[in-house]
């Protein structure tokens, strides 16, 4: 609505800034998780993720020197780097926790028994002593250093390939897929028929059925959990994928029918009546005319259902059980939050693995999602 007369430019600026603040506030939490998932556990636990983007100056955890001993004349020497993998710059260092900044970079410190230690700015050290270091505990070095931003993919390889670290995230990912895809397709198939019948076929009790569907839209699924579980046990499905698919289908149907019916009712009456006059059967009309025309509505429901089944926790827990082998991503995450609440590198990475698929679907198909939302609520 930029065409409104009398808009002041200061106001426009205010709007821009307000939107920027809102957007930042909404993106910031997710960004935090994303950045964290690329940091090592040390980095995560010693500084906030927002600091990861800039060079950090601070005291690092103590590093115990190690390396191959070499004999030079009567000196036993160990040389090496404190930070072989990063571009850390040391500004001060020390060998005791009481005086961690005793020496500047490049200085040589006198240790006991005539030993000497030199630490250079780039973390290279040289330790010399009058006797062999064999069997002795080598000194620890405390450093105050500037560390440039550093990111790693190791969390992802760790979580996805190792069963212990990721606690089976890869497995859970496959479980989630197994739940989500059939749970999306089955209700669409069923609902398309039902919606067509409710929209274009006349039969007694039609409006009552529609009312029932609308009513069911808001019934909390918690109500149906136990009866449904009992039913599944009674007819022998028990806990398993079939049970989850059926449950998701059942809970997804009202919305599916409602969305599709609303859409199909809006299709031009002429086309359908012409087809009837031309002698098409109801089934032909449905397959050849209604389904292709309803594609947008089908797509929007498919996204809804996929996001919902992918993100669902309750139904998976109830109908699939809490065994390690059947746990879906959301269930796995809840367990991780309990058992590894402090290990943010694993938690953040796992969470991101679980989020990335729905996010991709979301950004790719946003148009249909919005359309579906609008069809469902604005009338």
């Amino acid at each position: 609505m930029d065409n409104i007369a009398g808009q002041k430019s200061t106001l426009t600026w205010a709007v821009h800034i307000a939107v920027l603040v809102l957007v930042l506030a909404w993106v910031f939490p997710t960004l935090g998780l994303l950045v964290s998932s690329f940091r090592t556990s040390d980095q995560i636990s010693t500084s906030g993720w927002w600091a990861a983007l800039t060079t950090q100056e601070g005291q690092l955890p103590a590093i115990r020197i190690n390396g191959q001993e070499v004999q030079e004349a009567d000196l036993y020497v160990i040389e090496g780097g404190l930070f072989p993998d990063s571009d850390t710059t040391v500004t001060a260092w020390g060998t005791s926790s009481r005086a961690p900044e005793a020496h500047a970079a490049g200085d040589t410190a006198e240790l006991k028994d005539g030993a000497r230690l030199t630490v250079a700015g780039d973390g290279a050290f040289r330790l010399t002593g009058g006797q062999s270091w064999e069997g002795q505990r080598l000194p620890r070095v405390f450093t105050t250093a500037a560390t440039p931003p550093e990111f790693t993919l190791s969390n992802y390889t760790n979580v996805l390939t190792s069963d212990t670290a990721g606690a089976g995230i890869a497995n859970a990912f496959i479980n989630t897929l197994t739940v989500a895809i059939p749970s999306t397709i089955i209700p669409i198939l069923v609902a398309a028929f039902a919606a067509y019948a409710l929209a274009w076929m006349d039969f007694p009790g039609r409006s009552l059925l529609i009312a029932a569907v609308v009513g069911l839209l808001v019934v909390p699924l918690q109500l149906a959990l136990i009866p449904l579980l009992q039913l599944h046990n009674a007819i022998g499905i028990g806990k398993g994928y079939l049970g989850v698919w059926l449950a998701h289908t059942g809970f997804g149907l009202p919305l599916a029918i409602y969305l599709l019916r609303n859409y199909m009712v809006g299709l031009p009456r002429d086309i359908i009546e012409n087809a009837r006059v031309d002698g098409a059967t109801e089934f032909q009309i449905f397959i050849k005319i209604i389904l292709p025309l309803s594609f947008p509505a089908l797509a929007s429901f498919a996204i809804f259902q996929f996001l919902w089944t992918w993100n669902d926790l309750l139904i998976a827990l109830v109908f699939l059980g809490t065994d390690d082998s059947t746990l879906v991503l959301t269930g796995r995450l809840v367990n991780l939050m309990g058992s590894r609440g402090g290990q943010w590198e694993i938690l953040a990475t796992s969470a991101f693995v679980s989020i990335v698929v729905p996010l991709a679907v979301f950004f790719a198909m946003q148009k249909y999602l919005v359309r579906g939302l609008l069809a469902g609520s604005v009338k």
Binding site: W49, S207, G250, L347, I355, V370
Partner: protein
């Protein structure tokens, strides 16, 4: 279609068939239940109000600028994130480190920066309840925004132009012209979010599991059903949720019928 009908019958009838009055009495005597009720009422007031409010604000603001659509899709994005994923995200924000070390949760970092002591936010009664609500507000605002912005666009231009000619200020236009015209949509958004709130379970389960007085009805029910295996009381609490939903259900069905005529 028959499957739906059939499912619909089982879900109501069998849910009902399970409940004896004794279960309700046990439930009423349980302090945790009342805590859950009280918290749920808080959720019901705060979350729909804040989400709708922020949604309306975001809708109104983004409609006016060139990169509005981009902004919208970023605000809308949390909708695609599961409640559990969102819980992880926010738990990082509320994270606490001991005093004297760098805080890795942004909330504590800000708090310490302002001179406070690091807090265990999620155990801080009663604020922890609101901190959990923030998560849901974060998720639901995008939904509210998308629908409200469509409604705002549907307002006939003439009414707004007339108001401008009459010398109304932007604020007046917004509250006196636009908001009344989209009132019915606001109600729809509000009730939809209310329904989500009534079912909210994952966030509480993942972040506090109802400890530190953050229990809500749906998690209470899950606790009873699948941890204590007390199906009687569990079902009774499910019925309470149903009872709370009923007015919305009736209202919805009525509206749908009106539309049909």
């Amino acid at each position: 279609m028959f499957a739906t009908l059939w499912l619909s019958l089982t879900d109501r009838d069998q849910g009902g068939a399970f409940v004896g009055l004794a279960n309700y009495r046990t439930m009423m005597a349980d302090a945790k239940f009342w805590e859950a009720m009280r918290n749920n009422m808080l959720w019901l007031v705060v979350v729909p109000a804040m989400s709708t409010g922020f949604g309306l604000l975001a809708a109104q603001l983004t409609d006016r600028i060139s990169w509005g659509n981009f902004a919208k899709s970023l605000i809308f994005m949390p909708m695609a994130i599961s409640f559990v994923g969102a819980s992880v995200i926010w738990k990082l924000i509320y994270d606490t480190r001991p005093e004297g070390t760098d805080q890795i949760g942004i909330l504590n970092a800000l708090w310490v920066n302002m001179g406070g002591e690091p807090q265990q936010w999620l155990t801080l009664i009663p604020w922890n309840n609101f901190l959990l609500m923030v998560v849901l507000i974060w998720i639901q605002t995008g939904f509210a925004m998308v629908i409200l912005s469509a409604a705002l666009r549907g307002i006939p231009e003439e009414t707004i132009e007339a108001a401008i000619i009459d010398g109304a200020s932007p604020l007046q236009i917004f509250f006196k012209i636009k908001v009344p015209q989209i009132m019915s949509t606001i109600v729809v958004v509000w009730t939809t979010i209310t329904l989500v709130v009534l079912k909210i379970f994952d966030i509480v389960l993942a972040m506090t599991n109802g400890q530190w007085e953050t229990q809500v009805l749906a998690n209470y029910m899950y606790d009873k059903l699948f941890r204590a295996f007390d199906w009687g009381v569990g079902s009774a609490s499910a019925m309470v949720i149903m009872l709370l939903v009923t007015p919305i259900l009736v209202w919805n069905v009525r509206n749908a019928r009106k539309e049909m005529r």
